[in-house]
């Protein structure tokens, strides 16, 4: 094994010993990697600043017995720079990092689609071209889709009948069942989102930003609640950062 190179996004850093950190990176080719950054907490460290969460880095790593060791790091793009002065966006970005970590449970199992999704999500969040809340929900929905858990939004998840499309009314959405249900299949306790909220979910999943950006605040809020509930149901453990996400409205 020895040396290998890759690029990736820093997801998390944890203190190790006196001055080191364990850096968790979602890489382009090697999936999620945990590696030691030696001496990076010392203020004279050559690359401490490059191994901060959100940073896209180009790395050279040395394979170790338990953890790999980072021997070189160059910044590709510091996505975190605009977040540190904007607290709500920092909380959204952090939720994206934790989600990416949770959707790559197996270390070193290639996860290129999740990596590309994260890069795109962080870029959109940094550009400020869309509501942070929408960027986050699009990221969560598409992470679910990559993992094979996309919610059924076009047909009844239980019988396959086409979903009703009364644009003004509300639909039945059953989180445990995995999406929309028709009226006859609707289980007790199903959520009843507005049809426009479901349309927003569909737009976010498909990357239809024109529709998403034009959506109303109340539908955005309902969508966030539904996506969060759906995500928490389909992952074994809660995404802790979601609780701390702050929205400006």
């Amino acid at each position: 094994m020895g040396l290998y190179g890759d690029d990736g996004i820093v997801l998390r850093t944890q203190k190790l010993g006196e001055a080191d950190r364990i850096i968790t990176i979602l890489t382009r080719h090697h999936g999620r990697v945990r590696a030691v950054g030696k001496g990076v907490r010392r203020t004279k460290s050559r690359f401490g600043a490059r191994l901060e969460p959100f940073t896209h880095v180009d790395l050279l790593l040395h394979t170790g017995r338990s953890l790999d060791v980072i021997t070189q790091a160059e910044t590709v793009r510091p996505y975190g720079a605009p977040f540190v002065t904007d607290y709500p966006r920092y909380t959204v970005g952090t939720a994206m990092l934790e989600t990416a970590e949770r959707f790559t449970p197996q270390e070193k199992e290639p996860a290129m689609r999740q990596f590309l999704l994260l890069v795109g999500g962080l870029r959109a969040l940094g550009d400020d071209s869309h509501e942070p809340r929408l960027v986050l929900d699009a990221f969560l929905l598409r992470s679910l889709a990559i993992a094979g858990y996309a919610p059924a939004l076009d047909e009844c998840v239980l019988c396959g009948a086409p979903a009703p499309t009364d644009a003004g009314g509300s639909l039945a959405f059953a989180v445990p069942a995995g999406g929309l249900t028709c009226r006859s299949c609707r289980p007790a306790g199903a959520a009843t989102p507005a049809a426009r909220t479901v349309a927003l979910m569909r737009a976010l999943l498909a990357g239809d930003w024109a529709t998403a950006d034009a959506s109303e605040r109340r539908h955005q809020a309902e969508c966030s609640g539904l996506v969060a509930a759906y995500l928490q149901w389909h992952l074994e453990h809660a995404i802790r950062s979601l609780r701390h996400v702050e929205h400006l409205h």
Partner: protein, 199 residues
Amino acid sequence: MYEGVVQSLIDELGRLPGIGPKGAQRIAFHLIAADPADVRRLAATLVEMTQRVRFCSTCGNVAQEDECQICRDQRRDLSVICVVEEPKDVAAIEKIREFRGRYHVLGGVISPIDGIGPDDLRIRELMARLADGEVTEVILATDPNLEGEATATYLARMLKPLGLRVTRPASGLPVGGDLEYADEVTLGRAFEGRRLLDV
């Protein structure tokens, strides 16, 4: 595996931060070979620590009374509070002898990915200290890394409506590092040249 108490000692030492199994074994055998009087003094200090050390009811620093030495010192400038993450940051800043105000120890940084939000830190206590209007400047000296910066941004936003001077030690502290590792000259300069935070 070693016999009874030797193994227990290695296990206990191995639970300390930054000490792995090998380090624990090395320290254990050092203690076994050391003068028993030295080891008893260490043990007595540990016991005394558990009985006497607590956290200052005002600032959260380590203390031996209800309040720490700094909070009890009448010569300190009551108009300035320096906010830090941990008690060890208080020690690092005290070393440079530049700062004459008092401190507020948050007990960590906002790190949602670790499940730590604003409510888990001593932020409410900080707001309570600012209520009487005696403090006119708050220096946010969290670590110069991403989580430290984000925590400073959060605090600056909360403090701004109070009409205080909210400052941050000047950049020059390298990004990514821990405050405790900054050398005294750099840290001194950072405090002298602190900048106003505009949120």
